[in-house]
């Protein structure tokens, strides 16, 4: 299979499409946690409880109100290979925790993969909607309509005072986690990222690197999300996150312009070097891949590199992950083999575009 055919088939909509402010915001994601009344949470679930919940969700997605919202398929984790589960993790459709729930877990996927419903993860049901660009409102509208449609066939565990009951008290109430994935190279290069991120964490939001561990982030990719789920309405939670994200977008744009004005040559050199490495290197580890891709994407956004699709960062940050590589080359690969194949895939992908580097 050619690379473009493979990508056509393997990519989720969020990886391919653009959206508002997508020079900075890669995706907007809403996750809603729900549990079925009368059943213990997955942590205490027996095999038969787990099967009951999966069956109930299966029936609910077959019912008319859900069917109107798209084509859905329910897959049990045990029917997927470990590699296929890992691919779903890399596409951000299921969590690593669900991938490990081989016995009790299941996932419902909509054909365009903008919607996934995790079954028997930490909670019975976790509806996730992931849209490209800054579209938190749309993601919430989609999530709440699916929630309503499912509720037609399910009785949710709901408490008059505490709201939707969840396994962990950090999710109780609305059960909502709204998060935005941001590419912030300007703020990282200008050194103001830590100051801004600590300010963000003081208004009830959490920021973490998407790749890398702890406070370290690879590829200047950050996820900003709400921490509080009880005491505020869904709209308040989303509105709060939105206003902070718009401020971060503005700061990032300013930082990029300042870099361009003050250090143009340095910036062009950095971006072009990274492009050269991606286009010609024979071995690439995942960390360097993300860092070089971040530079190239910045170069595209600032007009230094032309002809490379802007979606290259989103596309390759997923397709150069270990499970994806093994899927594409259809065999098991050791870490050092992956570095060689990763470099090959990136070179091939860049050749699909008609590139030009200005200077």
């Amino acid at each position: 299979m050619s690379l473009s055919d493979f990508l056509q088939r393997a990519m989720s909509r969020w990886m391919r499409d653009g959206g508002p402010d997508d020079d900075i915001v890669l995706t907007s994601r809403i996750r809603v946690a729900r549990n079925v009344q009368g059943y213990p949470f997955p942590i205490l679930q027996t095999d038969s409880h787990a099967s009951d919940v999966i069956e109930m969700v299966g029936k609910a997605i077959e019912a008319a109100p859900v069917k109107e919202l798209g084509q859905y398929e329910l897959i049990r984790c045990r029917d997927l290979s470990a590699l296929d589960r890992q691919v779903l993790v890399e596409k951000h459709l299921i969590s690593p925790d669900l991938a490990e729930q081989e016995k009790h877990g299941a996932v419902v996927l909509r054909d365009d993969e903008l919607v996934s419903i995790m079954v028997n993860e930490e909670d019975h049901i976790r509806i996730q909607c992931i849209l490209p660009g800054m579209r938190l409102d749309d993601a919430w509208k989609l999530a709440t309509s699916i929630d309503d449609a499912l509720e037609n066939k399910l009785v949710y565990a709901f408490h008059e005072k505490y709201g939707y009951l969840t396994a962990c008290p950090t999710n109780v109430g609305t059960g909502i986690r709204a998060s935005v994935m941001m590419h912030l190279p300007g703020l990282v290069l200008s050194g103001s990222i830590n100051r801004l991120l600590s300010a963000v964490s003081q208004v009830g939001l959490a920021v973490r690197g998407i790749y890398g561990e702890g406070s370290e982030s690879f590829g200047n990719l950050f996820q900003v999300s709400n921490q509080i789920t009880l005491g505020e309405t869904e709209e308040e939670i989303i509105g709060n996150l939105q206003s902070v994200v718009y401020q971060l977008i503005e700061h990032e744009r300013n930082a990029r312009q300042q870099l361009l004005q003050r250090n143009r040559t340095q910036l062009e050199d950095r971006v072009s070097r990274s492009f050269g490495i991606l286009a010609y290197a024979r071995r690439m580890d995942s960390r360097e891949t993300l860092e070089r891709l971040s530079d190239v994407r910045l170069g595209i956004d600032l007009g230094i590199i032309q002809g490379v699709s802007a979606g290259i960062l989103k596309e390759l940050m997923v397709t150069t992950q270990p499970a994806f590589l093994q899927k594409y080359f259809s065999r098991e690969l050791s870490a050092s083999e992956r570095d060689v194949r990763r470099a090959a895939l990136i070179r091939e992908r860049l050749r699909l575009d008609d590139t030009e580097v200005h200077g």
Binding site: P40, V155, K161, C168, G173
Partner: protein
């Protein structure tokens, strides 16, 4: 950023110490941090920031100050059998009923991790309807009692009929 101790490896452990109000910070690689004994901190061990550990830390901190431990160890959810102690270890409830079973201990916890302790957002259509109805029934029953106490029997009869109608509606 390079490790401030060995000047060779990348600094991945960032330590901030506040001693008598004086703040100091330094940056170490994982190996030097281990050697220095700085990595004892529960959040740094393991691969990422572990929320469960933070939560059980909060819960344990709470039980060590104030409440007598004997009182909390006996708390057990009658539906799923989870004890409050297990909850503090796992950071997860066993079933929806745990919220009621542990309600006496829940309020201080929710105050710490959430902004409020009452849900103000979306309400499920089906069970939400039942909840609204229950609230109304409770209100009518209270009013009925008051009417009987006041010997306002005409009003009491009205209320009794309303309650019946609501209860029958709920059965359908």
């Amino acid at each position: 950023m390079l490790c401030e101790r060995c000047h060779e490896r990348a600094a991945t452990v960032h330590v901030t110490k506040i001693v008598n109000g004086e703040k100091t910070g330094y940056h170490l690689c994982e190996q030097c941090a281990k050697e220095q004994g700085e990595i004892m901190h529960p959040f740094i061990s393991g691969n990422a920031f572990d929320f469960n550990k933070l939560l059980s830390g909060l819960l344990n901190m709470e039980s060590s100050s104030g409440f007598a431990p004997a009182q909390t160890t006996q708390l057990r959810c009658s539906s799923c059998g989870m004890t409050y102690n297990q909850f503090t270890q796992l950071g997860r409830f066993g079933c929806p009923d745990c919220y009621e079973s542990f309600s006496s201990r829940l309020e201080p916890l929710l105050r710490r991790i959430q902004t409020g302790n009452s849900h103000t957002g979306k309400v499920p259509v089906k069970s939400g309807h039942t909840i609204a109805q229950q609230r109304q029934l409770e209100m009518l029953r209270r009013e009925l009692q008051q009417a009987v106490v006041d010997e306002n029997f005409e009003r009491a009869a009205e209320l009794r009929d309303q309650i019946r109608a609501l209860e029958q509606g709920a059965d359908e």
